[in-house]
């Protein structure tokens, strides 16, 4: 029972990380109608810059600031230099260009930081474990990740439903020309939205740094999961991203945790381990296919 609760928490925490990634990507999809395969690269940039700043200064807060800044600035630079030329073009051109960006960023990190993974540690003030329930010991850092994710979700909700900028962004999504006619600088708006998206990816990256290996290509492993999330949630819907991320996080974690045990009840143990493990790897894709067959536009289809 304790194990189940702990695994649920683990799933929640994975889901939150995925949410930070997907929120940015779904915003860019929904508002700018741009497919960005290189979103994972900004996650990687966040982690690398965060690890470097943390190593140089010893401060996690500075690392956080540096990572967010770097990911945001890199994102805006990419928007201005490459993607801005592609808004009116086919989605496929965006696929090709951002595929090229993945190559570029992955190799650049290897050139700058070398080929081996980078070190990043949990800040001392977030180290250790606390006993949530009797017998349920959980790392403080992972709880902090959950809290940060929840706060970001609230901030995004506030930004979009309560602020002027949020209204402009939403209006820009439904009618680009109209908003420009009203005197809003749509180019700047798009650059900012894209920067916000990559900044969130950078945040996910720097928070993942102390837990995961900081290495070149780390963005692609999470990128595919992110795509799965936003497609399940419904492209362009932040609410969908929340639900999709939690669903994927839970299915993936619980699948890994319990499927092999489940199979062991009716298959020979070595066979069960391998079948269970394979099925666990496939589980989120099975869920995604099922959701799309049931609701072809995702759980929370956006209106346009």
């Amino acid at each position: 029972m304790i194990l189940l609760v702990e695994q649920l928490l683990n799933g929640l925490q994975l889901g939150i990380t995925l949410f930070l990634m997907s929120a940015g990507l779904t915003l860019v999809f929904g508002i700018m109608q741009v497919i960005n395969l290189a979103h994972g690269s900004f996650y990687m940039i966040g982690a690398y810059v965060g690890a470097t700043v943390a190593a140089a200064t010893g401060s996690f807060i500075l690392a956080l600031a540096g990572a967010l800044g770097a990911a945001g600035v890199a994102g805006m630079a990419v928007e201005i230099l490459v993607l801005r030329q592609l808004y009116k073009r086919d989605h496929l051109d965006q696929v090709l260009a951002t595929f090229g960006l993945i190559f570029f960023f992955n190799e650049m990190t290897r050139i700058i930081w070398g080929k081996q993974p980078l070190f990043m540690d949990i800040p001392t003030w977030l180290k250790g474990n606390i006993e949530l329930l009797p017998g349920l010991i959980y790392p403080v850092y992972r709880l902090a990740v959950i809290v940060v994710g929840a706060v970001v979700a609230l901030l995004l909700w506030y930004l979009f439903s309560r602020t002027r900028l949020g209204m402009q962004i939403r209006a820009g999504a439904s009618n680009r020309d109209m908003v420009s006619a009203l005197g809003v600088n749509i180019k700047l708006l798009y650059t900012l939205v894209f920067g916000l998206g990559t900044l969130l990816a950078g945040l996910a990256g720097v928070m993942a740094g102390p837990i995961f290996a900081v290495e070149s290509g780390m963005g692609e492993s999470i990128l595919i999961l992110t795509f799965v999330v936003i497609v399940i949630g419904g492209i362009g819907s932040v609410r969908g991203a929340v639900v999709g991320a939690l669903l994927v996080g839970l299915v993936d974690t619980l699948g890994r945790a319990f499927l092999p045990t489940l199979f062991r009840t009716f298959l020979s143990s070595s066979y069960a381990d391998s079948v269970g493990a394979s099925l666990a790897s496939m589980s989120i894709y099975i869920v995604m296919a099922a959701v799309l067959i049931w609701k072809p536009r995702g759980l929370f289809p956006s209106h346009h």
């Binding site: 595929f99 090229g100 190799e107 995604m288």
Partner: protein
């Protein structure tokens, strides 16, 4: 020179180039070029089959590698069972006969395309891209866990298949077999897109609402297109398994699908011959850049971006259109 004439000259020139290549390679003493271009021919076949989907059916599939992988695995699995003289599932004998195994690879790939296609076509747009990706990833992880056939280690063939009247172990023979199949598939595709079926298909890709208003079930046409594309990719997979004498789950990975898509886009969408050019340029770039620098990706990435920004119809469009 008018676009049409240029196109004809380009295709004829390309055809001539491919036909004469083995002799040229022999003349320059560069036998290796034959196997490099065999690889180009096979990837071209896969890319053309994907172009059929994307460029004519409007079906942006990011899971096309799945069918290449299926074709490859069918070939390799039958080889393995024949090599070890142990019938498949206890009853079906293995085989190394190309005339038997290759059509089978095509049929199995087409069957999977039917299955995946009928489910995926319920969605459209971005969701279609992602659901095809999802199915391909499922098959990828399935292959990784397929212990009997090597799992992640993949499966080696100890020689190429046998084809009556040909010696496939001979690189030049095998090259011409691949050239034959690519030409055949190009011919079939060219007829296909101009046929009644193709007309309806292109219509459905252009406006599914309008095709509906004409009283036509667009989805059925798209499904058939998906199956034909899958079959072509399955054949490419069978040939690739023979060329490298090896298959692995890497064939089904999403990056492989991505690379095929890049070849199609690089060459020029919806042009059939464009993807051949795209595959050639992409593979040659990868090959030559990697020979000069270990950081080849830092150059390849920006090259792709430049092509997107400055060649709107891909390289084939750049060569056949005058802007």
């Amino acid at each position: 020179m008018a676009g049409g004439v240029r196109k004809t000259v380009l295709i004829a020139g390309g055809g001539l180039f491919f036909c004469l290549l083995p002799w040229a390679a022999h003349y320059f003493g560069e036998q290796y070029l034959v196997s490099l271009f065999t690889r180009i021919l096979i990837y071209s076949l896969a890319a053309v089959s994907l172009d059929l989907l994307i460029g004519y059916g409007g079906l942006i599939s990011l899971g096309h590698a799945a069918f290449v992988g299926i074709g490859g695995y069918v070939t390799a699995i039958f080889f393995q069972h024949s090599f070890e003289a142990e019938p498949l599932a206890g009853i079906i004998p293995g085989s190394e006969n190309a005339l038997l195994v290759w059509p089978l690879a095509v049929i199995v790939a087409a069957a999977f395309a039917f299955l995946i296609g009928s489910l995926s076509l319920r969605t459209s747009g971005m969701h279609f891209i992602m659901i095809t990706l999802a199915f391909a990833q499922m098959l990828y992880y399935f292959a990784v866990g397929l212990e009997k056939y090597g799992g992640d280690d993949g499966l080696s063939l100890y020689s190429r298949n046998q084809l009556v009247g040909m010696d496939l172990a001979n690189d030049v023979h095998f090259y011409f077999v691949c050239l034959f199949f690519l030409s055949l598939f190009l011919l079939i595709s060219d007829r296909l897109v101009k046929s009644r079926f193709g007309l309806v298909l292109r219509g459905a890709a252009s406006s599914s609402r309008r095709i509906h208003a004409l009283g036509i079930h667009g989805r059925r046409y798209k499904l058939i297109c998906f199956i034909i594309g899958g079959a072509g990719a399955g054949l490419a997979g069978a040939l690739l398994a023979n060329q490298t004498e090896y298959v692995s789950p890497g064939l089904l990975h999403w990056t492989m699908s991505g690379e095929l898509m890049v070849m199609v886009l690089l060459g020029g969408l919806g042009s059939l011959f464009g993807p051949v050019l795209g595959a050639a340029v992409y593979l040659l770039l990868e090959e030559t850049l990697a020979m000069y620098t270990e950081h080849w990706m830092v150059y390849l990435g920006p090259i792709l971006i430049v092509v997107v920004l400055f060649a709107k119809r891909g390289l084939f469009g750049l060569l056949t259109h005058r802007d």
